[in-house]
């Protein structure tokens, strides 16, 4: 049985939980796998730390929390400092280039993308999370991009589907290069 643990973290307002929900929905509904999403829940405010954990598998997920992530998407320095060491030996860490500095000799695979700049070029910094998701989809290969696009359409506010999918595709293409 294949099982992947994915952790997405950053600060409140970046769309961390929405990114987790899009990913979980893509896996559970459009890719017909099993997925369980949990996320940080507490008196956090915009700007505070925030994380979402998604487990994707071919069978029903028994243990609903992430133990050692296969994939991490980290969108703040705090998130990197706090979580990066939890990654599996052969896991992949995906970071936002301008928000996360990591040591050059960091002992795990780190993939960096200037997602904030790319989102700003599209006219809206708010789609940063979608650029990250696109990049993650390309780098990890866990979820099909088609399922992700369907899930985005079903998850984002009406009228913003085009921009969000564009952002996803930018991130995805960056990862494929």
């Amino acid at each position: 049985m294949s099982k992947w643990e994915i952790k997405i973290a950053g600060f409140g307002g970046q769309g961390v939980v929405l990114a987790g929900a899009i990913l979980g929905k893509a896996a559970a509904i459009y890719d017909k796998k099993y997925a369980a999403l949990t996320h940080s829940y507490g008196p956090e405010a915009r700007g505070g730390s925030c994380s979402a954990q998604v487990i994707v598998g071919d069978e029903k997920i028994s243990f609903p929390y992430v133990i050692a992530p296969d994939i991490m998407v980290l969108m703040s320095q705090e998130a990197f400092d706090k979580y990066a060491r939890e990654i599996k030996l052969d896991g992949k860490i995906i970071v936002e280039k301008n928000l996360v500095n990591y040591p050059a000799d960091f002992p795990r695979s780190v993939y960096s993308i200037p997602a904030t700049r790319m989102a700003e070029e599209m006219g809206s910094r708010i789609v940063l999370n979608l650029v990250m998701l696109g990049y993650m989809t390309a780098v990890s290969g866990i979820i099909s991009p088609e399922a992700m696009r369907e899930s985005i359409k079903a998850s984002v506010p009406k009228g913003t589907e085009y921009l969000n999918i564009l952002a996803f595709d930018k991130g995805f293409d960056f990862g494929k290069e």
Partner: protein, 385 residues
């Protein structure tokens, strides 16, 4: 009876357990919710308050949990299908009115999204330590039904089941979920309305001159009326006769309380829902319910790798307790390992049913997160020694 298709969100969704409870209630025909927000249950009433305007329901945010829980009884006697939702400290406040609903045989649903306690405890983190409170929290002798979902899908299915059982037995039904299941999102399949079976309210067909509000049928459950139907009735929390008139005597008390208790006890085999998988060569039987049972399924695989074969009993209806299932399982003297997110509650029921025939072990947990699989494995190893 089928739900109104306009209210049922038929389709495949990715929902939180709390959202699934809300949709289950709406599919079950719930049209009245009174509540007072409390973490981690608030998102249920948030969603209810957004959905009810489109389904024709009434949501009232009350001033506290006492009023919320009694408003539910009032609404039911007015003809509504009603529910309230709370957690931890709010559940404590509702105890009096759970007893009132049990005494007046008011069909209604109480949802407790369990968090760590006692007192204010851990508002944002899970627990399973309200299980005995669910059973015994109100004063006096009575019986309720309590269900424990282990996933968002079960949150949906069991909320409908809770409403159905409440109507069939005219009893408050408690949906005992927890913060972890409540805030976990998974695939939830909501079937078409015509595939959902609802138990109708047991309204009497007798004319007012022949009707007695608390005269039971063969299954010990009386039929009901609602306010405005033209029946003169008296609904009271005092010990009452078949007319509902207060009669303060030991004889009347005996007849009433015995029936309130027996209508659930006697029908336990019909109410029972248990997931049971005990291969003949099992070395140990793992017992759990709600979120803890998911960890147990993982542990069962880990134990197998060590050469330990584990059977599973998962009560889905925890109250009334499925005694017969445990008595039968105890006969082969395999130890029970009970995994629950508290310092020992359901384990006492298991121990009582094992009646010395099988050893009973507890894997306690004070709450806040799920069990560490290794902690469970340690006890399993000890149990099979």
């Amino acid at each position: 009876m089928k739900p109104d298709p306009k209210t049922v969100l038929t389709g495949t969704h990715f929902l939180k357990g709390n959202d699934a409870v809300c949709e289950g209630a709406i599919s079950a025909g719930c049209n009245f919710v009174a509540g007072y927000p409390i973490t981690p249950s608030t998102d249920i009433i948030e969603r209810i308050s957004k959905r009810f305007p489109f389904t024709g329901g009434t949501f009232i945010q009350m001033e506290d949990e006492l009023s919320s829980s009694i408003a539910v009884s009032g609404a039911v006697w007015g003809g509504a299908k009603a529910m309230t939702v709370t957690s931890g400290p709010g559940f404590s406040l509702m105890m009096e009115n759970i007893g009132y609903a049990a005494m007046t045989e008011t069909p209604c649903v109480f949802v407790d999204v369990q968090r760590g306690g006692p007192s204010t405890g851990l508002p944002t983190l899970p627990g399973q330590a309200d299980m005995m409170q669910a059973r015994w929290g109100s004063h006096g002798d009575y019986q309720i039904i309590a269900l424990c979902p282990e996933s968002p899908q079960e949150c949906y299915d069991l909320t409908i089941k809770a409403f159905n059982l409440s109507e069939e037995y005219r009893v408050p039904v408690l949906l005992m979920t927890d913060e972890c299941v409540g805030h976990m999102s998974e695939r939830v399949v909501i079937p078409p309305a015509d595939e959902i079976e609802l138990s109708p309210r047991r309204y009497t067909t007798l004319p007012p001159s022949e009707f007695h509000l608390f005269r039971p049928g063969k299954d010990l459950v009386p039929d009901m009326i609602k306010a405005g139907d033209g029946y003169h009735v008296h609904v009271s929390g005092l010990t009452h006769d078949e007319h509902g008139r207060p009669v303060i005597t030991p004889e009347c008390q005996d007849a009433l309380v015995r029936r309130l208790v027996n209508k659930i006890r006697q029908n336990e085999p019909k109410i029972r829902m248990v997931e049971e998988d005990i291969p003949d060569d099992s070395d140990v039987i793992l017992v759990s319910y709600g979120i803890s049972s998911r960890i147990v399924f993982l542990v069962r695989e880990l134990a197998r790798k060590e050469g330990i074969k584990a059977g599973i009993i998962r009560p889905i209806v925890v109250w009334p307790f499925p005694e017969e299932v445990f008595r039968k399982a105890a006969k082969k003297s395999r130890p029970f390992v009970v995994v629950e997110m508290n310092m020992g509650q359901i384990v006492y029921e298991v121990e009582r049913c094992a009646a010395g025939q099988a050893k009973t072990y507890l894997v306690p947990h004070a709450g806040g997160t799920v069990h560490n699989p290794e902690d469970i494995l340690k006890i399993i190893r000890e149990a099979v020694k």
